[in-house]
């Protein structure tokens, strides 16, 4: 059995992903040299002739004129020496399978799509990895958005389905003061589980998102498997009310920077871009009013409004808490018994600051 050389759909230019096979310039059975013109290929921008990648006999034409095929798809096979038909067939099948797998790799990452669903007349934006079992919904904190899970979603997606919504008045979802409370957000999550037919889900909630997760578990216990809470609100009574109220009303770069550094143990993690994005969000119409109202539901008189420790004790729950948390002090869980609490060397943003530990648990 001699050598076999694949003739494949080339990549030409900057943006070519597929090409149309036009006429073959040589026939099956013709001898060809390296560099000899083989087949005309056309794309949106380019019409050119593919040159032979090697020397031999064009033993088999696989792609027929008119076919549209992705880059690297098998177009034909050049052989040198004796040919074993069975081996040739399996060679072609293998090459086509490899090309199909490569094409699948090129498909857009489902997590990059900004999806939408409607809830009570609002548009809720969310990310969804689409594939996989054991759906996990990731719930961001006060003033955050779905992109706070940037270090987690892609890492978890190979092992399970992950989803991350923007709560109303956050991220790209509709701003609505009326729908801005932890209880309203819990209803939204419950509606999301129904609309997307997710069945029972696990929830991971950060800060206010942790409180929302506890509320979903309390209101709709059948829909919730396990909870993972990252520096959650709703456990204990301590809260940095100055941060919450300050964030709701801050409208300059300097104010936001001074607040954002309180989120991280390593202050260097606060980038210019992060502050610029927060400022852009804070300047959206209606956001400030909605956040002020939301802040009012989270604390009164400097203490948290609601303690849901009993919910955490009734559902399989794991809590991660940063020892250097300046927003919700780790001492909030001091009195909590019967729940697995792991303290970490980080600030308020465990999912970013200690992503590996959190991801390992969530996998």
């Amino acid at each position: 059995m001699g050598e076999m050389i694949k003739v494949t759909m080339p990549k030409w230019g900057l943006s070519m992903v597929k090409g149309t096979v036009n006429d073959w310039v040589v026939d099956e059975g013709d001898e060809v040299e390296k560099g000899q013109e083989l087949v005309e290929i056309e794309t949106d921008k380019i019409a050119n002739v593919l040159e032979s990648p090697g020397e031999g006999v064009l033993y088999r034409i696989v792609a027929q004129p008119g076919e549209v095929l992705p880059v690297s798809a098998l177009l034909g096979v050049i052989t040198q020496g004796e040919v074993d038909e069975a081996e040739l067939e399996s060679y072609i099948a293998e090459a086509q399978a490899a090309a199909a797998a490569a094409a699948a790799d090129e498909a857009p990452d489902p997590l990059t799509i900004n999806r939408r669903l409607d809830w009570e007349g609002l548009t809720i934006r969310y990310l969804d990895s689409e594939e996989g079992e054991r759906p996990l919904i990731c719930l961001h904190g006060f003033g955050g958005d779905k992109n706070n899970w940037q270090f987690n979603l892609a890492a978890l997606a190979p092992n399970r389905r992950v989803l991350a919504p923007d709560f109303p008045s956050h991220g790209d979802s509709t701003v609505s003061a009326e729908h801005s409370s932890p209880l309203a957000y819990a209803k939204m999550v419950s509606a999301m589980i129904d609309q997307l037919e997710l069945g029972q889900v696990d929830l991971v909630g950060h800060s206010m998102g942790g409180l929302v997760a506890l509320l979903v578990a309390r209101e709709s216990p059948a829909k919730v498997g396990a909870l993972t809470l990252l520096a959650p609100a709703g456990i204990g009574t301590e809260i940095n009310a100055g941060y919450v109220d300050g964030f709701a009303t801050a409208n300059s770069r300097n104010e936001l920077k001074a607040l954002a550094v309180q989120l991280f143990a390593d202050k260097e993690m606060v980038s210019r871009q992060m502050v610029a994005d927060l400022l852009k969000y804070k300047r959206l119409d209606g956001v400030e009013g909605a956040l002020v109202q939301l802040a009012g539901t989270l604390h009164s008189g400097g203490k948290q409004s609601e303690d849901l420790s009993s919910v955490a004790q009734s559902v399989p729950t794991k809590i991660f808490w940063g020892k250097a948390d300046e927003i919700l002090a780790v001492s909030n869980c001091a009195q909590l018994s019967g729940v697995d609490v792991e303290q970490l060397e980080c600030g308020h943003m465990a999912h970013m600051e200690a992503a590996d530990v959190v991801n390992k648990h969530l996998t």
Partner: protein, 323 residues
């Protein structure tokens, strides 16, 4: 002008490395594994090597979108370049630049450049720095015939004379700005003729002939090092591949490239001359060909098996603080 045996071997090796590198990237790009865009330098090797053989790491060069040859000639490491073109983390620029942005300041390579005509202003800065530092360094900008028509190039020619900078402007005229013929788009017979308007010497040289380029380059670089100011040099040469990979080149004549390869190929001319004059043996050249082929093969394997940048790498290398 005479070159030692080791210099001759070095020149041949560099030219062969560039040719083998570009031929291989041509094949690999077509498989779709290389992201972005590549423009190949094959056919023009004598120009990059003829100039860079005179340079040390203190000297700076600025390149073009067709920059692989200049990188190799200036001493940028080949494995790093191949990884860079493949977008890998161990590439020259951590896989973030790709073909058109390979830069290696330690080697004095200020960068390939996606902007046509962007190199000349850069070397005016490098030339001014060398002048202030009095370190005897020179700066060279390679531009194409298209780049030679850009305002940036013409302004730089003026500035270099006004400030008497140690700069050399090399117009690599391969006959086409993308698909537009230079015979049509360049206003004068020779790009080098424009030098007179800026009060500097202008020289035309056959860019297929390494020895001719090396000699002309040596004179200009010596003059610049000694405070004699800038020079404009036009290398007339040919590119073997299209403007970009996939270019159908319908603007070129039938067998145009074939004829050039048969009659003016820079590696062929070099080999013929050194063997006929008994300066090197064919066996020496064959040995280099073999070593370079293995080196390029290894660089492709190395690149393909290297890791890609991670999401966290996005936030690094965005700003640089110069000392």
């Amino acid at each position: 002008m005479s070159l030692s045996e080791s210099k001759l071997l070095q020149a041949y090796r560099k030219m062969r490395q560039i040719r083998a590198f570009e031929d291989r990237v041509h094949d690999e790009f077509a498989t779709g594994e290389i992201p972005g865009f590549v423009h190949l330098y094959a056919g023009e090797e004598a120009s990059a090597v003829g100039f860079c053989m005179h340079l040390n790491d203190e000297d700076r060069i600025a390149s073009t979108h067709r920059g692989h040859g200049h990188c190799i000639a200036k001493g940028v490491e080949i494995n790093g370049m191949m990884s860079e073109i493949y977008g890998r983390r161990n590439g020259t620029c951590a896989g973030k630049g790709g073909s058109m942005h390979i830069a290696d300041l330690e080697k004095g390579m200020m960068g390939a450049n996606g902007i046509v005509g962007a190199g000349p202003p850069l070397i005016c800065g490098a030339g001014l720095a060398a002048k202030f530092r009095k370190n005897g360094a020179v700066a060279i900008a390679f531009v194409g015939d298209g780049g030679s028509n850009q305002g940036t190039t013409l302004e730089s020619l003026n500035l270099a004379t006004v400030w008497n900078l140690p700069c050399i402007f090399v117009a690599e005229n391969n006959g086409y700005a993308e698909s537009t013929g230079s015979k049509w788009s360049v206003s004068c017979e020779n790009i080098a003729d424009r030098a007179a308007a800026f009060g500097m010497p202008g020289v035309v040289v056959d860019g297929h002939d390494f020895f001719a380029v090396y000699e002309v380059a040596g004179e200009a670089i010596k003059r610049a090092r000694e405070g004699g100011g800038p020079t404009l040099i036009e290398c007339k040469l040919n590119r073997y591949y299209g403007h970009f990979e996939g270019d159908a080149q319908t603007y070129r004549g039938v067998d145009e490239v074939k004829k050039v390869k048969e009659s003016k190929d820079c590696l062929m001319l070099f080999s013929k001359r050194v063997t006929e004059q008994g300066l090197l043996t064919q066996a020496q050249l064959d040995a280099i060909d073999k070593e370079v082929a293995a080196e390029i093969e290894a660089s492709v394997e190395h690149a393909k098996s290297s890791a890609k940048p991670t999401a966290a790498d996005l936030m690094t290398d965005v700003y640089v603080s110069y000392p």
